[in-house]
Subunit: 306 residues, 3 copies
């Protein structure tokens, strides 16, 4: 059954994932061919939380397919939310103006609430501590492109796994594939939560925990880095943690030639490499990953709107 | 004579109103036919005050007609207004970039000042305590669609009538029609002001005041609800007022089957009905009303720009 | 050699300047002919500092050439800058979404840093106390249109010359032409800085300083006014300065009929003339100057993107 809305990564079947990956590959090769696929279609970007990157990526995807965009980058302050209007009412109204809504919101579950009252597709572009399913989609697409497969892979998630929604959303997708092994590498108080671990158990995915990246860095195929948010741990813990969740010149050489470093971006000091390495070493996959977002979102918009 | 600018609802003649209503009806039925009516035309949205809803409605209308949009949602903070530039100078400059300007401003009279120096159409999208003429237009268009007529109607305006510009703008339009009876239902200190009452007298429109919605709810054809702004009345007055200016499960059944509840939205607790009723009962007209805004704005943009 | 990026006004050769002026003139005359020159092209507006005027001017230019726009008017607050991402990383990502980036930033040198990592054109729309090269371009284009030449001219720069980047950027351009004489008219502590003066000496441009506009007002061809920022000088100095750096009804008559008053806008009390004079006297060039910005930016976008 075709999906109407995208609110969480579990919704994607393996079949749909591969179909989107193939479409994204094809679009990238034949961009010109698709320049009016969504002519006459209009998306509304409703962003209640900062995210220039994600918003511009969706809007660029829509425009490159010949579609149009109406947009607010500060819905929290400027929309009727400050007057106390429910998100459902906002969606009821805006859904009459456009053919799909891309929504980012500070509250978990908002995209699903929006989908329930909308007659047009709702795409979750991040809902608080909930999910960010199109980020998971572009992450998995990147793995697919870098390795030519989405199985028989060992993946380390590194950093703040307790609150980072990108790692959570990607785990839901990885649960659908074979021979995946996951290693969670995080400070004691920022560990991956039980709900994801239970999900992985249920899907027979092997996983374990580590508290030092260097112990696993040479062993894994994918190192999925995320920001450690300093303000979330004590400065004593932070000092102890420093260097254990970071890639820099000292441990970068331990990374296998065939391995890839991914990051949802923006990255700060958790990756501290010379600019030449970031620009040229093929193990650095995160700028390609970000570019992949454009093509996979084009594929997704076509899937939902054509 | 054709209007160049739209700054107040009085400007619309009865003839023009019906012509716009008919165009809006026709556009709605033949959307595809109009997809390049305004090709090559460009509007600038200058919003000095929050209003995602109104802004997106105009921008969607423009895009669905094949036109383009340049836009600022926070002109107050980001434009040269903070450097002390006069609105006239801003308009002189922006009017060279676009074919029409849609402006919302926090000061009454701004749209008219803008129109005076602009060589392109200025559309008032709300000017402080002044008017919001396209809201009045969509309100009247909704009455026209729901009842098939704009005469022989009894209309209650409910809530804060002292500062709500939508009720004021709609009264100006209603003054142009026959056998209209108006009932103003508001707390003592939020009554409709004398200027509107004088206008109605001059146009031989019957009106009276009430201070309890339940006294008139069964009698009127249209219940035009507006938000009571708690912060504008004392909490003692508010406690007394509560329930007198609200539609909820207790008094909704008093509303005639042929009557309609309208609201400029966003609504908060002044309408507290179960979601099934809001979604399905035909007496709830405010979501249709909001959608009507799209089509009547398309008609208006065509009128001004074609 | 064709320029890839525009980060400072020195980059423009005399040949390129005249070529852009001629293109701008031609575009203005045959607007319709160019309505799909940039069809399928997309620019990203990244504004880290307020500037509705400049942003809308670029976006209008792009749209009038058939191109598209993705845009943020508040990148400082809403982008990953607040999470500590480097401007280089932001550019690496956004440069995958668009065909050119128009950037305004609060830090001098940002556009150049952006250009260094971008594979698409970067256009500086103002970088802190650095430059604003397209403003200089439209300023010079205005001189070209008003006088039919860019030589044998006496030009007074008036106001805050220490921090105003428009005067600085225009001086760099003027240094490329013959028989230019410049008079800097500013309060003692807001004088033009040594770097520009050295540049002018090197290029054999005559310049001198004055501290009273009225001493030179009858003598010059161009009076380039800029805002005196009250908050930057003591109130005692400001009181003494008042009237010395202002054009009003008392000294306007001293301006030659063939001379022109220019201003980058917005202007406040440094120009205090009756509205009829601002609207009709041909010596008032600043609204034409602002409109010229649209056409010269169209010419520049064509140069960079076609």
């Amino acid at each position: 059954m075709k999906l109407k809305d995208i609110y969480e990564s579990q919704q994607f079947s393996v079949e749909l994932l591969f179909s989107l990956f193939k479409d994204a590959d094809e679009i990238r090769e034949n961009l010109e061919k698709h320049h009016s696929d969504l002519k006459g279609k209009l998306i509304a970007s409703l962003f209640y939380e900062p995210s220039t990157r994600t918003r511009l990526s969706f809007e660029s995807a829509m425009i490159k397919l010949g579609g149009n965009v109406i947009s607010t980058e500060n819905a929290k302050e400027f929309s009727s939310a400050i007057k106390g209007e429910s998100i459902e009412d906002t969606i009821r109204v805006v859904s009459k103006y456009a053919d799909a809504i891309v929504i980012r919101h500070y509250e978990k579950g908002t995209a699903r609430k929006a989908a329930a009252v909308s007659n047009i597709p709702i795409i979750n572009a991040g809902d608080g501590k909930g999910q960010h399913p199109t980020q998971a989609l572009l992450d998995l697409y990147t793995i697919y492109r870098e390795f030519g497969r989405v199985e028989n892979l060992k993946i380390a998630f590194v950093g703040d796994l307790a609150s980072g929604r990108t790692a959570r959303s990607l785990c839901y997708l990885l649960g659908k594939f074979k021979n995946i092994e996951i290693i969670f590498v995080s400070p004691e108080n920022l560990k991956m939560k039980a709900d994801i671990e239970n999900y992985l158990k249920k899907h027979n995915i092997n996983f374990r925990e580590e508290n030092d990246l260097n112990k696993v860095i040479a062993e894994v195929d994918v190192i999925y880095m995320t920001r450690i948010q300093k303000e979330r741990i004590s400065s004593r813990d932070y000092e102890r943690a420093k260097g254990k969740f970071v890639i820099n010149s000292s441990n970068f050489n331990l990374v296998k030639e065939s391995s890839r470093i991914m990051h949802p971006l923006p990255h700060v000091e958790e990756i501290s490499l010379p600019i030449e390495i970031e620009n040229k070493d093929k193990r650095i996959a995160y700028f390609r990953q970000s570019e992949n977002g454009l093509y996979i979102r084009m594929a997704l918009l076509r899937y939902l709107l054509m």
